[in-house]
């Protein structure tokens, strides 16, 4: 099977651009060109639905901007926070988004470090989530400031001893690191885009890819350098990620308030971050897989494996919660008694038990039984986990502030429309940037998936044909003729 030269196939390219989908004439057989075509399709053309989606997101962000304008003009009085509960939705969402950002670290770095390969097709999405979640999360402390006009004071007068400064340094370091870690594996894919999108691509796109591809030619020397760089980043990003969420937990546990005065917060928050990060990947995976028709490359195997990781992390979260609540509950000092009463029986009881059962127990059960261990089941579990983890952050922040310090009645907190609007705007911003990314960057790391497949085919490993892989076998990814691969390997 030969791949014909470019230039005569404008019709197909036009078809690609007009409808966003490949035309009826399609290269048959070749698995790699299929992969490339499918993954690069969004870059090649955009349909009206996409612009509608963008417009919707921009509208939500605009509404959030309007809400923030109210806050800028009148002060934080427009929120529901007051002296006794002085942190609310903003800090909750801050912790939540930074938590999600651990998705990329886990998948790209940790799994790569232990030489797992099944996650190759989703590392790019995971890295997307990391970078975007960090960008959105880092906005929240700024939104929460009473005097954002004095932001520069942190730089000029910053104190090393303050947990908030640790946050600033850690998030800046992690954001830089994950941007680098996103960019490094993108270089060969950018080169692919530069070479393969054809002259019909608009000029800005061609120039863009020309620049960011860094002159990648796939030479052995370049590959060696890239491998070296990726190894460095893989090793560095793991402790950085762990330190980021530990340091974020320390803005709470460095205080003397009773529910916060706990030594286990660092580990608790890191576990929770990885937990919610996995859930975020699963959800994004499911969405992009459906929208961009990547069913061939993101299979049930990825979902089930991630689902197992989710269940494992749920078990770890159960352990951390037990550690926390059993030890403080056994001793039950006065403040703990108030906290438990509010959390488990009182005002937060509904949210708390939803978090425990919906967020920890049900996802574990879903993964336990083969009947529910499907893509749909895993996505349901992940959605539950995402909602439950946001609620858990809310319970930590607001629940912690609700314990009275002196002889007064516990205060109430009710977020206002401003806070909800800004939260919605943050989610919309998250979705917006990811949507833009899908148009700029290939959502699957093509060269890595190809590498993995070549490796598998070359070692002629027979993949077992039981349930998990039945889908992938049907979709033609399992048994790729060695001859075809050999032909493609010489391209």
């Amino acid at each position: 099977m030969a791949l014909e030269a470019d230039g005569e196939r404008g019709g197909d390219m036009v078809a690609l651009k007009r409808t966003g989908r490949p035309g009826p004439e399609y290269i048959e057989g070749g698995w790699q060109p299929q992969l490339e075509r499918r993954v690069l399709a969004p870059l090649a053309g955009t349909g009206p639905r996409y612009f509608l989606w963008l417009a919707f997101l921009i509208a939500v962000i605009g509404w959030a901007g309007f809400a923030y304008l109210q806050q800028w003009r009148r002060g934080l009085i427009v929120t529901g926070m007051r002296d006794r509960i002085s942190w609310g939705l903003y800090i909750t969402s801050f912790v939540f988004f930074i938590g999600i950002s651990h998705a990329g670290t886990l998948l790209s770095a940790i799994l790569r470090a232990v030489k797992a390969t099944w996650q190759m097709s989703i590392t790019r999405m995971a890295e997307f989530i990391t970078v975007v979640a960090l960008m959105v999360g880092a906005l929240f402390p700024l939104i929460d400031l009473g005097r954002p006009d004095r932001l520069w004071n942190i730089v000029v007068f910053g104190r090393w001893q303050s947990p908030l400064l640790w946050d600033l340094l850690a998030i800046a370091t992690y954001l830089t690191g994950s941007t680098l870690y996103l960019y490094l594996p993108l270089v060969p894919d950018f080169a692919l885009c530069r070479d393969r999108l054809g002259p019909q691509a608009p000029a800005w796109q061609r120039h863009f890819f020309e620049i960011v591809a860094l002159g990648w030619r796939g030479t052995p020397e370049q590959q060696r350098l890239l491998e070296h760089a990726m190894t460095i980043m893989m090793v560095v990003i793991i402790p950085v990620a762990v330190s980021v969420h530990t340091v974020i937990s320390w803005i709470f546990s460095m205080s003397l308030r009773e529910p916060f005065n706990s030594t286990v917060f660092g580990a608790y928050f890191v576990a929770g971050a990885i937990f919610s990060g996995i859930a975020a990947i699963i959800v994004l995976m499911a969405v992009l897989r459906r929208l961009l028709r990547l069913e061939a490359y993101i299979t049930e195997r990825q979902f089930v494996n991630l689902g197992f990781l989710l269940a494992a992390l749920a078990l770890i979260m159960v352990y951390m919660n037990l550690s926390e609540y059993v030890t403080t509950g056994y001793k039950m000092n006065a403040d703990t008694a108030v906290h438990f009463q509010q959390l488990m029986l009182g005002r937060f009881a509904g949210l708390f038990w939803f978090y425990i059962f919906g967020g920890l127990v049900v996802p574990g059960l879903i993964m336990l039984f083969p009947r529910t261990r499907t893509i749909r089941g895993v996505v349901v579990a992940a959605t539950l986990v995402l909602v439950a983890m946001w609620i858990e952050r809310y319970l930590i922040v607001v629940g912690g502030f609700s314990v009275p310090l002196m002889p007064y009645q516990p205060a109430q907190y009710a977020p206002t429309w401003v806070e909800w609007s800004i939260l919605a705007g943050a989610f919309a911003l998250f979705a917006l940037i990811i949507s833009v990314f899908t148009k700029l960057f290939p959502v699957v790391s093509i060269w890595e998936v190809v590498e993995y497949h070549q490796l598998e085919a070359a070692t002629a490993v027979h993949r077992p044909r039981h349930g998990r892989d039945r889908q992938s076998a049907r979709e033609g990814t399992a048994a790729v003729p060695v001859t075809v691969l050999a032909q493609e390997a010489t391209q």
């Binding site: 197909d12 048959e28 075509r37 090393w160 960019y183 460095i232 049907r474």
Partner: protein
Amino acid sequence: MNEISCRFSEPTRRGLLALLALAGAALPMAAQAQTALAPTAIGIGVPSQAQLGQLIPLQARLVGVGGVPIPKATIYFTSPTTFLNVTGDAVLAEAVTDAQGLATASWRATRTGGLTIQAEFRGDDRYAPAKAAAPLVVGGERQLYVQQVGVRIPALNTAPISGLPILARLWPGLSAWPIAVALLVVWSLYATVVALLWRIAAAGRSVPAVAQLPSLTAGTGSAEGAEVQQ
């Protein structure tokens, strides 16, 4: 009220004091004594000079009629003080007289200058009140009260007095060094990676450009029959 107090001039007071202390006479000097209460007299013994911060012994002897010592009586050692424009007798110490009528206490000198130390017996249902005074000059100059902060870790749990730019604070902080070192390590690794990227770009420039690869959508092929919608 039997009082030997500062109403008198200084030399007179000193003289009377010495007289009483030596003779132990108990003759009351003031006018109407309450008929129900037995007259008492009190003498005070304090050093005349002390240093700031020094522990000063205070003594007082309470005697009744005929010089008989009065035991188990509470003596208050006070000093007239002016603090924030309020004047009053501040109680420095208390002591109970023993069988010899002697009460001893001590006071750490925290004020400088010419002070007056008084010994007061406030009277009870049997005995009349009595009061004696003596001068004390406290000299010296040092800060006595040092703030206690428990375990004091430099730059970790001690607060800055005033703000300093972040760079100037790099020196003294114990907690600053681990943070600074960790950041330095991580960011220099980032710099290494960026340098590697630079080298990748340089290596790319030196390779001659390959002929344009076939466009993705070139060629014919069968329909995507192999595709299965989920």
